[in-house]
Symmetry: C2
Subunit: 314 residues, 2 copies
């Protein structure tokens, strides 16, 4: 099966989170942008993960990566170090959160190193890390067919010039609503999107959490992907990275240069994987899926926005 | 043309607003729930408006009602009183707003009085007024084919019992996201919706402002209507009432008992009328439309969420 699957390289953070929500808590919850991305994308493509962890990183997750078909040869394990740890508390709306602790640990001196052959991966996703490192990885690649990236408010504040350099190079940028506003100083989201496209982001995905996501593609068109209204959200951590995993995974699996149509479908696969992610802590739900479950949820998304195109007034 | 149009009665507020946004201001901006509803619904149905204003109410709006085909025989003009006035300032996100002044004036003692024949209107919308008055109007009606209602946080706080009585009678309740949470004490929106349906609201529309709206219908199904991302929002006032006008207007025009399918299409017509509303102050934009403009925007909404239903993984 994996022989027909395109190679999709992700470089990003791998973390152990301590998650507190209004109704539950998990102390050792494996997370990080590359983890969620990989566990979501693995249903679509042959994922290669580059990151760094410490000696405290659970063996179980390495086994989960193997079982999911994620190649973790590029996950460096620093034997005398600790994994990046983040502790946070979600507010009752399950959207806002407060960071209680951040320990970068081995992630602080992370320099991505690509195992032999990784530089020719056909698809690349630069998950949320320092833009300077994203740039280094990008420049080591031998012309990927498609490159996506994510970022965060910190880099907009402290590494704006590097960030703008990466944005201008990649094919797709995924970014949060508030980050889009921060990056452009523009409150109106359409204007913010146009501003980011003028910075060189050809295709732009603006993530809005429980409100879904918007696509602004290079033709100037836009698309609204809904989020699935869920009766129970266990843990929103990793939703955006899972979205990116489904989105990039679909585009890689599809294999053709992305078009308006394939980007739209990719937005839905992204939303599908995000909707699974939040149904459990860590990658619990992402781990236990199969093609049938993913397709069933894809059909629910199709149902969600489907309506008859009546033309009563004409 | 009007002979084939069903009668749609709306009872609600008619106001003169003073609107301040980050980029503009209008001091005498005719508003109110019944005004926006009527100006939106008039493209679909033969609207009858019941409300109250004072001697300061502009003749121009009465002329606009006539031109739009809105029957304002039920709009009482109190010659020695002043119209309900509201002054508010929108924050930079154009979503949150601060009330600066409220003068109920003649609206304080408003008792809806239906002109002869109005009680047999086929369609009824109880726009946001005191639940006790909504109930009185409802009970005077001779079996409307469909009845919708709106409300606000104030009535949830001060007239909850009356409100629950109305909710249990009508076919459709439209309510804001925050109001749905306030009404049920439930943060999760799906749970809140189920709770409101258990109160007797057979069909429920939850309005989310710039994020669109959700429909929970009596079959247990739900539907997500996007909002149109707009490059320029002039004034959000009346968006929810315009939504209700397009929504109820479409259902009335269509004439059949509402089904899952017709409610979904009604959600889009509601979103279409809301998207026009916010493009201008007052009902400026709603006034100048025609069937072609409405259909063109309906097609934009259809485009907005359209995607190919690829089944790559099966």
């Amino acid at each position: 099966m994996s022989v027909e699957r395109p190679d999709l390289l992700v470089v990003g953070s791998v973390a152990i989170d301590w998650i507190i929500t209004p109704s539950a808590e998990r102390e050792e919850s494996v997370g990080g942008s590359a983890t969620f991305f990989a566990m979501a994308a693995a249903y679509f493509a042959s994922v290669r993960l580059v990151g760094v962890v410490g000696a405290d990183f659970p063996q179980r997750t390495l086994a989960d990566f193997r079982a999911a078909g994620v190649d973790a040869a590029g996950l460096r394990i620093v034997e005398d170090g600790l994994t990046f740890r983040w502790k946070g508390r979600y507010h009752e709306n399950m959207n806002d959160r407060t960071t209680l602790e951040t320990h970068l640990n081995v992630f602080e001196s992370f320099v991505p190193s690509l195992p032999p052959g990784y530089e020719s991966s056909e698809y690349l996703f630069l998950a949320n890390i320092q833009p300077q490192l994203q740039l280094q990885v990008f420049e080591r690649m031998v012309g990927p067919r498609l490159c996506g990236m994510d970022t965060m408010n910190l880099w907009i504040d402290v590494a704006r010039d590097d960030l703008l350099r990466v944005i201008a190079k990649v094919d797709v940028l995924t970014i949060n609503e508030e980050e889009a506003r921060l990056l452009t100083g523009e409150h109106n989201l359409v204007k913010a999107a146009r501003g980011i496209q003028r910075m060189g982001a050809r295709n732009l995905v603006i993530k809005r959490g429980e409100y879904g996501a918007l696509l602004f593609d290079e033709s100037g068109d836009f698309f609204v992907a809904p989020a699935l209204p869920l009766e129970e959200v266990i843990d929103p951590t990793g939703a955006g990275d899972s979205f990116a995993g489904g989105f990039m995974g679909y585009l890689a699996r599809r294999g053709v240069p992305p078009s308006g149509a394939s980007l739209r479908t990719a937005m839905i696969y992204g939303s599908v994987m995000a909707s699974f992610c939040v149904e459990g802590f860590s990658y619990d739900r992402l781990r236990e899926l199969d093609a049938a479950a993913i397709q069933a949820r894809f059909r629910r998304f199709a149902q969600l926005t489907d309506f008859a195109h009546a033309h009563l007034l004409s």
